[in-house]
């Protein structure tokens, strides 16, 4: 069984800065593996371990430095990695990115493609949908529990009011929720061994992606303007001095929330 996990390198830490000139995310600082993707890597490793066989392949698109993010996932235990990197891919939106990833996945023919729920920088949470559509594969998203048996994947999807249990035949695409597992720490042996694992670098040409379908040329979204989020208005602080519960109830009643 082959499981592909799509991962992304995102700026490290909470600091997100958008460059006002390019209207793109500032990626000058340190990068790290998108934390949501660690859940997908962990789930892939667990599926492989419980099956007792299989292969976990990482796929990412980004600048050459994105290899750093892949290293952590390799250190966690993934078997090999594919990095799609090309100057012409810079500035790709979700649509353009989905084309390149889908082409790479067509080459690999995995039984299962896993995604994290979203990328912590752009917070799009739609790339997995676009990729599944391009591959014409069934998709289950926001999966909090995943099982594989007899060529069928079953996902328990978190929803606002409970769970949906959804079954799909393999090959399929699954986006996991961040509640699905607790990602393992890579071990030192994993870290030391990561650099010896196969890492393939592909260009858009390798994948047969036409230049007008990549980067800014292939993108259909445009950032028109940037603005600060509106202020949340006046906040009120209630200190815990004994009368706090009454004060909170009075506040909620005043807002007609209770």
């Amino acid at each position: 069984m082959r499981i592909a996990v799509c991962v992304k390198q995102v700026p490290e830490g909470a600091a997100k800065r958008i460059d006002p000139a390019t209207r793109r995310l500032d990626r000058a600082g340190e990068g790290a593996l998108n934390a949501y993707d660690a859940n997908a890597v962990e789930e892939a490793l667990r599926l492989k371990e419980s099956a007792g066989e299989g292969e976990v392949v990482l796929l990412t698109m980004g600048p050459a430095r994105a290899a750093d993010a892949i290293r952590k996932a390799l250190a966690m235990g993934a078997d090999r990695a594919i990095l799609v990197t090309d100057d012409a891919a810079a500035g790709s939106d979700l649509l353009a990115t989905s084309i390149a990833l889908a082409r790479a996945l067509e080459r690999e023919q995995p039984d299962l493609v896993l995604f994290g729920q979203q990328a912590a920088d752009s917070d799009g949470a739609v790339l997995w949908g676009a990729v599944a559509d391009r591959l014409r594969r069934p998709l289950i998203s926001q999966v909090a529990e995943l099982t594989l048996a007899d060529g069928v994947v079953t996902g328990k999807r978190q929803s606002e009011f409970g769970y949906d249990v959804i079954r799909a035949p393999l090959p399929a695409v699954v986006a996991v929720s961040d509640s699905i597992n607790e990602p393992r720490y890579p071990s030192l042996k994993g870290i030391m061994g990561a650099k010896k694992k196969p890492q393939e670098t592909l260009t858009l040409a390798d994948l047969g992606v036409e230049s007008d379908r990549a980067g800014e040329a292939g993108s259909r979204t445009e950032v028109l303007a940037l603005s600060e989020p509106p202020s949340r208005g006046e906040s009120r602080r209630i200190d815990g001095d004994g009368a706090a519960p009454e004060a909170i109830i009075a506040f909620l009643a005043e807002k007609r929330l209770v």
Binding site: R71, L188, M192
Partner: protein, 387 residues
């Protein structure tokens, strides 16, 4: 000259930082208050490979370099200096000397369980009357039919109550009262009895005990290096060990800086953040500068060691500077936090108590100066002689 860490070193640092900040730091204040040795933590560190960072893979370690190990000690100590001490003693003062001085048989027998973290290591040199003057120790080993019988009392033995392997020093030549009559032995837990647990100023999540060796019989295969060459083992151990303690000091000081900086950005007095006052800015600037200076000396000493170059003097310089810096700058962190810094509501008072020990163990600052002076004057002597 290249000041950047390798990809492996960066990853190991990042892993240890993430683990330490998530799994250790939140408990550190509680362990300190309760004087609790977090036994349950060590299997987790072992699973990640952190109990044998710089031990070759063939001996059960992770096979990383010595600087990686130093980065690990810095990050562990930044979260909890007691944990840093436990791992430092286990690795620098027990596992590595067996690896360096042991026979093939001794390495294969003793090192893998230590490097895999299945047993904890301890270093038993100090006695009531033998501190900085370690050569005056009284614990004695007498030859018998097929080995040695060891009798004596050791004190301030880190990990002594929890260790499975002890590197222990005893006098084998009663005629020689100084260091030349001392031999190093590898002992098991069954050979020693832990007695009194020490109450300390800080480092409360590490365990320090007195141990008794009551006529323990050991075979000749437990002599490390050669008989009467024990002091070479002890000094070789301390050469590397003091770099680890220097890294611990840097980690503690970094933690104090992190807290002081965050506090200065939040705390408001006279209508401004206290970080907006030059008095506080200068303190933070000095702290960051001194921490970075010490860190560079520590990394350089570690690099010299892994390159197989002389590192006795540089290691002592790193430890001297880092430990005195840590004591001074953890005090400055308290000063920035003011009254809050003096309370247990914030961790800086713990950092201050923990930092103090780094000026004392693995050689006091006075001994470090002695070591530095000796290495300076010895090399001057050699230079003159060469002319």
């Amino acid at each position: 000259m290249d000041f950047s860490l390798s990809a492996d070193q960066r990853e190991i640092q990042a892993l240890t930082r993430e683990f330490a900040q998530t799994e250790i730091e939140p408990h550190a204040a509680g362990w300190d208050r309760e004087h609790r040795f977090p036994r349950e933590l060590y299997p987790k560190l072992a699973a990640l490979g952190l109990m044998g960072v710089c031990v070759p893979e063939e001996y059960g370690g992770a096979g990383a370099d010595f600087l990686s190990y130093i980065l690990v000690l810095e990050e562990l100590s930044r979260a909890d200096a007691g944990v840093g001490a436990t791992v430092a003693v286990h690795t620098s003062a027990c596992t590595l000397p067996i690896l360096v001085f042991g026979t093939d048989e001794q390495r294969s027998r003793f090192v893998p369980p230590l490097a895999r973290g299945e047993v904890l290591g301890a270093f038993a040199l100090t006695e009531a009357e033998a501190g900085s003057d370690a050569g005056s120790l009284r614990t004695r080993a007498e030859p018998d039919r097929d080995g040695w019988t060891i009798t004596g009392a050791k004190q301030w033995i880190t990990n002594g109550a929890h260790a499975g392997t002890f590197l222990l020093f005893a006098r084998t030549d009663p005629e020689t009262a100084d260091a030349r009559g001392v031999t190093a032995f590898v002992l098991d837990a069954a050979h020693v009895r832990a007695t009194r647990e020490e109450e300390k100023l800080g480092l409360n999540s590490s365990s320090t005990v007195n141990i008794l060796i009551e006529g323990a019989h050991v075979g000749r295969d437990r002599v490390l290096h050669e008989p009467k060459r024990g002091f070479a083992v002890a000094m070789g151990t301390l050469d590397g060990g003091r770099i680890g303690i220097a890294a611990q000091a840097v980690g503690i000081a970094q933690a104090a800086f992190d807290t002081a900086r965050a506090y200065a950005l939040e705390r408001r007095q006279f209508g401004r953040r206290i970080a907006d006052f030059q008095a506080v800015q200068w303190k933070l600037a000095d702290m960051a500068t001194e921490i970075e200076a010490a860190r560079m000396l520590v990394y350089r000493a570690a690099w010299l060691r892994q390159e197989g170059r002389p590192h006795t003097g540089p290691g002592a310089q790193a430890k001297l500077l880092a430990s005195e810096m840590a004591r001074r700058q953890t005090a400055e962190a308290i000063q920035i936090l003011g009254g809050y810094g003096y309370t247990k509501e914030f961790p800086v008072e713990r950092y201050y108590r923990d930092a103090k020990i780094t000026e004392i163990y693995e050689g006091t600052s006075e001994v470090q100066r002695l070591v530095i002076a000796r290495s300076l004057l010895a090399s001057a002597g050699r230079t003159l002689a060469a002319r």
